[in-house]
Amino acid sequence: MAKVEKKRALNDKTLREFMREMLLIRRFEEKVEERFRAGDLPGFLHVAIGQEAVAVGVCQAMDDGDTFASTHRAHGHTLARGTSPNAVFAELYGKIEGCSHGYGGSMHLYDVERGNMGANAVIGGGLPAVTGAGLAYKLRDEPRVALAFFGDGSTNIGTFHESLNLAQLWKTKTVFVCENNHWAESTPGWQHSPVWDDMSKRALSYDMYSIKVDGQDVEAVYEAAHEALDYARSGEGPVFVDITTYRMQGHYIGDPQVYRTKEDRESAAAHDPIVRLRERLELSDEEFDALDSEAHEIVEAALVFAQNGTDPQPEDALKNVYA
């Protein structure tokens, strides 16, 4: 395991861009929550409020050509990698203009052009594929990396262990990003894993290089992700990035969180990555409000775009079953 000590000096301009992205995700998620509660959105949804610094830090560190797999909590990753808010919101409304053209929904956001190989609603479901994609990049000697996001809850499923083992064995160009928010749905970390507060121990047992990082510090996440991607890209082998983060909301929208204490929720709220970055940048109220208004406007426009989107024809359901 390595600690990131020497930081790349990210200038304020770059960090402001990160703030822009994080605010976009936050306001997007809040709008999603509002529209879901209003009964607008089909299916069920998971928002990543509190985990924005992970999405932005990691996705900003990726290169063009890199690919990734996401999870059921995918809005942030998808937006952070550059998919337009219009296309994401349209997908949540099941419209043709959506990033999966209405075939996927919130838990199956895809944008292959931007390297998004799919958000997966099966816990750990995407981990073997990033191992295989990382193998393909290695076999073809391509300077690309396949990366997987997953939560601490994924570290107990077979695909996790089989993937880490195979990736390390074959030194695939893969990065495993564990977003440890200490919750597997409603089950706290201490109830689901003996190493819940230090997931890098999992990597240790596969002899995999790992990096531990504070997921509420976007700069640190960016540095760690960059280091991990560089390492994997060089062909040295896969990297496990152990990110501690906080889920400020429930597992799904509408989750009453009966399993969670008031203190725990307050503690999560106290680790707001946006507040942290705002302090780091020493933004005045005016500066922050200007960035925030911009995010609100983009989200409002995305909502209008989505609501005015085109419904698929029912029989479109029979397309795309086979290539």
Binding site: Y103, D111, A136, L139, A323
Partner: protein, 325 residues
Amino acid sequence: MPEITYREAVRDALVQAMRENEDVFIMGEDIAEMGGSMGVTQGLLDEFGPERVRNTPISEMAIVGAGIGAAMAGMRPVVEIMYEDFLTLSLEQIVNQAAKHRYMSGGQLKVPLTIRTQGGAGWSPGAQHAQQLEAWLVHIPGLKVAFPSTPEDVRGILWTAIHDDNPVIVFEHRLLYPVKGEVPEQLEPIPLGKARTVREGSDVTVIATGPLVHLSVDAAKAAEDEGISVEVIDPRTLQPLDEDALVASVQKTNRVVVAHEAVTRMGFGAEVAAVLQYKAFDYLDAPIERVGAKFAPLAFAPVMEQFIVPNADDVLAAIKRTVGK
């Protein structure tokens, strides 16, 4: 035409595909130095090296899943699951991932993955090394499923599977590996979804898969001695299914037996019977007969195993029932 075994035919398809296209590589348990538990991949390591002939850990989810990822990244992996009983371990990856990425992405992705596996009774492997589970996968939209029964078919179909842009599961059968058959000098690709008339006849159609194709031919010859003319059809691909060929045969014979080694209940024959009663109802002169394994796990003791698994006499008895003999 040269004569080769089913095992050699599988190998030949792999070798030719790997020679032709650098993107084709194989991975699975014990497939490199050992040449596979069935000896199918013998010699491939020497020709193609360890990068393209990859021994894996015993890790079925990762084997299939890594195949999916490599396929989505533009390669054409062929993965081997040593026994189809072990497909159950990788089923999540096959059912939720391989079959659905194209669909869930709204057509953005394709998964050109081939999964080879094998099973089959007749040598007392017991209950966890010989099941016939092909029907499970036919039930999943997004997958293609083939079950070739001869060297020529398996060579041509495996070739096509490797070059198909969809996940294709090719079921092989343990007892078929040593079976010899003529193959064309040059490999001829066989399209998926095309049935083969194994034997023509006019009184009864037997629709059979895998080893039951051969047993049905034996049964057909015995039936002929009793004055019953039997047509045997091998669908070869279970999904897509050549319904037209099956219906056309039934329109001619008016009687049907479906036969496979898998358990009869919810077996592939049930689907064939349903298709035919709907598409050829007016042509049917007798109830459709089904031949398959009895509803029990495969027993170890040879006498019990033989009792469970269908044989040529079972097919013959079913043929005779359709003509009221």
